[in-house]
């Protein structure tokens, strides 16, 4: 298991640096514009002109662009959440799919390791990557707050906004990992996992807009990490944390059950 973990940690470093750097930049850059808006207070008046549905989707019905957390929650958070989920899902889908695609899986399975150990090594690497990715973004966000925000904000709520994406990313990483078992080729596993993220996001938007569709919300990870909820409550709800961790664990468990008796054909 350790050998697999170390190898994965080495191999995927570059993609972490690329995705991490881009999102660190986007976070910092977007936050830097906050200073320009902060004292004008007019921004909220413009927002009033948006259609109500649009304001709801972006959380602008409850958050204010002239407040630091409101600005972060509506402008930055969504990028971190969405792009990060795509990164996590692709990473998760690739971990096993690449072994089958490059036909290295026989090499790996010929070693004296159980399938459970291989999965454990890979999942642990996944966990480390998703964590590091969020640490990078968190550092960038903290630096940006320090540089561009002079007004008061709740530090707990900010920590909530920084921690919540990790949970969503973890869920999507696990979903991607599981999904890969249904596609032996990375070429199809990767676009499908991106599609999954976007589909879930779309469900979340629909659930926000229409009361009839509200039930859809509960099915998507995005629902449990809603920025406005976190800012209003000052933290991520305990149940939300449990739901996302549970969903991740379920996807990981399902991968194990699927993989235990799977025929490996290359």
């Amino acid at each position: 298991m350790k050998a697999v973990l170390w190898r994965e940690l080495r191999v995927n470093g570059r993609s972490l640096l690329i995705w991490g750097a881009i999102l660190m930049f986007l976070t910092f850059f977007t936050m830097s514009a906050f200073g320009a808006f902060e004292f004008e207070g007019q921004l909220d008046q413009y927002v009033e002109l948006f259609p109500e549905s649009m304001r709801k989707v972006f959380g602008l019905d409850r958050l204010s662009l002239s407040e630091p957390l409101g600005y972060y929650g509506t402008e930055v958070y969504i990028m971190v959440l969405l792009f990060g989920s795509i990164y996590a899902a692709i990473l998760g889908a690739g971990l096993m799919a690449k072994e089958e695609e490059e036909k290295t899986i026989e090499f790996l399975l010929a070693r004296p390791v159980s399938r459970a150990q291989i999965l454990a090594g890979k999942l642990l690497a996944l966990l480390v990557y998703v964590f590091l990715f969020n640490v990078l973004i968190g550092l960038s966000a903290l630096a940006a707050f320090k540089s561009y925000v002079s007004s008061d904000y709740s530090r707990d709520a900010l920590l909530g906004l920084l921690a919540a994406p990790f949970l969503a990313h973890l869920a999507f990483a696990s979903f991607g990992f599981l999904l890969a078992f249904f596609f032996t080729r990375r070429r199809s596993a990767m676009p499908t996992s991106i599609g999954l993220v976007l589909a879930f996001y779309f469900c979340d938007v629909l659930a926000t807009l229409s009361e009839k569709m509200e039930f859809l919300g509960y099915l998507t990870p995005f629902h449990y990490v809603n920025a406005a909820d976190i800012v209003m409550n000052g933290q991520v709800g305990g149940i939300n944390i449990l739901v996302l961790l549970g969903a991740s664990a379920a996807a990981m468990g399902a991968s194990y059950i699927l993989y235990r008796r799977r025929d490996i054909l290359i």
Partner: protein, 294 residues
């Protein structure tokens, strides 16, 4: 203890046949060839032995251990080279071999020695290797941890004759040290040179297990007769397994009484007559045809 034993081992991929009721025994210490045409089920058998795939029914044991239940224990003492095995392109040869060794407690003592024997450049990246060189790396990773049993799926494909000979020499040496070797091939002359015993598989079923020495001794004789008048008659005699006319000469695959054949031939004016021991290839072609006709 048997190195490999299978009991009515059967594998279907959905409805597609892999292997059917395979009963195989490989003694510890022998070099065992597993021969059959493409699609006969050689790779399926090997993948089942290594538990990459699960049998539909039946079971198999390696050194007395169940291939499904004890697969991790088994893989500690088995070296495997897959026919289509891939290696991590981003690694160097040495990196790959060290990665392989790290699963076996990091013993890299043989790494340099084996690289020397096969003339593999340890610093080259895997992706830059030719097919033959990749094969060599594959052989080294299978031998690295001094396995008790080597399972090789088509090990010689992609190797030039020189490397093939080097491989065979090395395998013989490994075998002298007590390593059991099980290898599949569709090229019989290879098997003939290396193996003690050979199993013939066709369409998923085991047709026969023979000792190479006995097969070669075999009772079959290749007979070729060219007739003076250029017209080959059709001969009727017990023991003619196969006869074929070819441009005025007759080709027989014969395991009957030679005296009777000679008495029969005495009735004809004969230009030339050859009798020779058939190659294994011919023996097997005959097996396949016979079994196919049944």
């Amino acid at each position: 203890m048997k190195a490999i034993e299978t009991f009515n081992l059967t594998k279907y991929y959905g409805k597609a046949r892999g292997i059917v009721d395979l009963n195989l025994e490989v003694e510890e210490g022998e070099i065992f060839g597993f021969v059959g045409p493409n699609g006969a089920g050689k790779t399926t058998t090997i993948r089942t032995l290594l538990n990459f795939i699960f049998p539909t029914s039946g079971s198999a044991r390696i050194f007395g251990l169940d291939v499904c239940r004890d697969s991790v224990k088994i893989r500690k003492v088995v070296g495997y080279l897959g026919g289509e095995m891939g290696y991590y392109d981003d690694l160097t040869v040495e990196g790959l071999l060290r990665y392989a060794a790290s699963f076996h407690g990091g013993d890299t003592a043989r790494l340099k020695e084996l690289a020397e024997i096969f003339k593999v450049d340890l610093n080259k990246k895997i992706y830059s290797l030719s097919l033959g060189n990749k094969k060599k790396v594959g052989i080294i990773q299978a031998l690295l941890h001094r396995p008790r049993l080597l399972i090789l799926d088509e090990p010689t494909s992609g190797l030039d004759p020189l490397m093939q000979r080097r491989l065979f020499n090395l395998l013989r040496e490994e075998n002298r040290r007590g390593t059991t070797i099980f290898f599949s091939s569709h090229i019989l002359s290879e098997v003939q040179r290396l193996c003690h015993r050979v199993a013939i598989i066709k369409e998923g079923r085991l047709i026969s297990v023979e000792e190479i020495a006995r097969l070669r001794r075999g009772q079959f004789t290749n007979v070729r007769i060219s007739f003076r008048d250029g017209k080959a008659p059709r001969l009727e005699l017990p023991g003619i397994a196969h006869q074929e006319e070819d441009n005025g000469s007759l080709h027989l695959f014969f395991n009957g009484d030679v005296n009777e054949l000679l008495r029969l031939l005495a009735r004809y004016e004969i230009d030339e007559l050859w009798m020779e021991e058939p190659s294994l290839e011919e023996i097997f072609m005959h097996y396949y045809e016979k079994e196919g006709a049944r």
